[in-house]
């Protein structure tokens, strides 16, 4: 180990706003398009461009696709099927989700809304839980089979410009080199340093970014099926609200894999800072919850991790089209509630259409590439994001939204469940008083109206 490896070294600190293409090092080859990041967005873009005969370079900083991101997840089959027909025959998903539930939690109770149906278990399915590396690798392989060149273990650090026009990328040590292309597509994820350095996007606000941590807990498949009441091969996705985020707005989730249970929990980066709660403490709290604990008993934690997810919604989306460049997926903040993968893949598809049109016209200006923006705007992506635009602000303006109302719902459920030795009418008044002692009726009404306004 280096003796002073922890010491800060002095390096030029502020990101370069622009970088002109060095004239002394000529790029070896010019591609039609370079895609930075082999995640769901980037690999989709690369696949659809390569399929149309474009010469595509897909650059990934990890030694394999999918090893740099984590968090339990499920893909939405309908959307994925439209882009990649019968995709479920091609890669190893974890389980077919036939059980979707929400758990409103307090420290000792859980109130649930659960829907189980075998209708969700027939092809083309509704949701499938996936392990990211398998899913990402499959998608990147598709791009390669379609003709894209995949470059692993290369970290792109800068977009190169010729004037205003993006013309290439620079990769860091140990590879150290330049690649040139007519179109650069940024799919480098939630923390797009590239977009920021290139001046395409502002530094993301910690209010608009959520930090999630996850733990994957291995259990035998039969045990999982018994504990969660599932048939072999079928799985569940459970949203956890209230208790998991310790008084702040945020969410947890449980994704059931073949041989493991994945727990995620997270909230706004800003709330973590404000509360001083350490992210992994939230995980420990959930695992110790009296009703969750037996579900995980004898399980072995096999992986821990953390990642950021853009949660600013519609209002946090940066300008997506630039001369010779486009932003897609998480880098473009295209996440809507629990939907991320399908927005990522569709944005990759639309960007590919725009890149192809630009290639045919030999015109890589903003005007030509704006086809991407147009396709996005006309799609469910922007329409749904716009419809949900107030959600981020709502969570910010009502900081007790998830916690207090989960507690109230559980309190109401408790007193309704418990058999009291008092007449029914007296009990109703008692419950009403209990609930309104937690939040005055007018405040409940005001919050409800605000929430409804966002939802419709």
């Amino acid at each position: 180990m280096l003796r002073h490896w922890y010491k800060a070294s002095s390096r030029p600190s502020l990101p370069n706003i622009s970088c002109q293409r060095p004239t002394d090092i000529p790029p070896v080859k010019k591609y039609d398009a370079i895609v930075v990041g082999a995640g769901p967005a980037g690999s989709s873009a690369a696949y659809f461009m390569a399929k149309q005969g474009m010469d595509v370079l897909l650059i990934e900083r990890g030694p394999y696709p999918g090893v740099k991101n984590c968090g339990g997840s499920s893909i939405i089959a309908e959307h994925t099927h439209k882009l990649f027909p019968n995709f479920w025959e091609e890669f190893e998903y974890e389980r077919i989700v036939t059980d979707q539930a929400y758990w409103w939690m307090t420290e000792d109770s859980i109130l649930t809304a659960r829907f189980q149906s075998m209708k969700l278990g027939a092809a083309p399915y509704n949701r499938l839980t996936v392990r990211r590396p398998k899913f990402y690798k499959w998608l990147a392989d598709k791009a390669v089979v379609a003709g894209a060149t995949l470059l692993l273990g290369h970290n792109v650090t800068q977009i190169l410009f010729d004037g205003e026009q993006a013309v290439g990328v620079r990769v860091s040590q140990p590879n150290d080199g330049f690649f040139a292309a007519d179109v650069i597509i940024l799919a480098d994820g939630a923390n797009s340093l590239l977009a920021e350095r290139a001046g395409f996007a502002q530094r993301v606000s910690p209010l608009d970014m959520a930090l999630y941590v996850k733990e994957t807990i291995a259990l035998p498949p039969a045990t999982i099926e018994e504990r969660f009441n599932l048939l072999p091969g079928y799985g569940a996705v459970i949203g956890l609200i209230g208790y998991p985020t310790a008084g702040f707005n945020g969410t947890g989730s449980i994704h059931i894999y073949k041989d493991a249970i994945n727990i995620n929990v997270g909230m706004a980066v800003n709330d973590f800072a404000k509360s001083g709660i350490k992210p992994y403490e939230l995980l420990e709290r959930i695992k110790k919850h009296p009703i969750i604990k037996p579900l995980l008993a004898n399980g072995e934690t096999i992986e821990y991790g953390g990642a950021m997810i853009p949660e600013g919604g519609y209002n946090a989306i940066p300008p997506l089209v630039h001369p010779g460049a486009m932003l897609i997926g998480d880098a473009a903040s295209l996440v809507n509630g629990v939907h991320g993968y399908n927005l990522a893949m569709w944005s990759g598809y639309y960007a590919a259409q725009a890149a192809y049109a630009a290639k045919r016209a030999r015109d890589f200006s903003i005007k030509r590439l704006s086809l991407y923006q147009t396709l996005l705007n006309d799609s469910f992506i922007m329409q749904d994001l716009k419809a949900n635009a107030g959600a981020a602000a709502l969570q910010r303006n009502i900081p007790y939204l998830f916690d207090l109302y989960s507690k109230m719902a559980n309190e109401a459920a408790y007193h309704s469940t418990k058999v009291y030795t008092m007449p029914k009418r007296a009990r109703r008044i008692f419950i009403y008083k209990k609930i309104t002692s937690m939040q005055p009726p007018l405040r409940i009404l005001a919050d409800a109206l605000r929430a409804i306004k966002v939802m419709i």
């Binding site: 090893v67 990211r132 398998k134 910690p206 992994y280 953390g306």
Partner: protein
């Protein structure tokens, strides 16, 4: 702390001896910082307080899981975060 060490020990890292990808820009600034959110927000406890004037914050960048939250939350914008060089850093196997 035991709980955390158990967690971080589960992860696979390819450490880069030649490039520290997280750097405190000006260490003197950290002494002025009252909230020090980097000490609590980091899921892999990269930042620890050193009680030393010259190097107030230790940066254990080799255990970084590359979420990038530190850069966004530093109130003095005093953390320079970039991704590790190609092929280095954390490797997730289980999604």
């Amino acid at each position: 702390m035991g709980q955390f060490e158990d967690k971080i020990n589960l992860l696979q890292f390819i450490p880069d001896e030649n490039n520290q990808h997280i750097v405190i820009i000006n260490e003197a600034e950290c002494q002025k910082c009252t909230s020090k959110p980097c000490l609590t927000i980091c899921p892999s406890v990269v930042f620890t307080w050193n009680n030393c004037d010259h190097h107030p914050v230790l940066v254990s960048y080799k255990q970084c899981i590359e979420c990038g939250a530190c850069r966004l939350i530093c109130p003095l914008e005093n953390i320079e975060f970039s991704f590790p060089n190609g092929g280095f850093g954390v490797i997730y196997h289980n999604g």
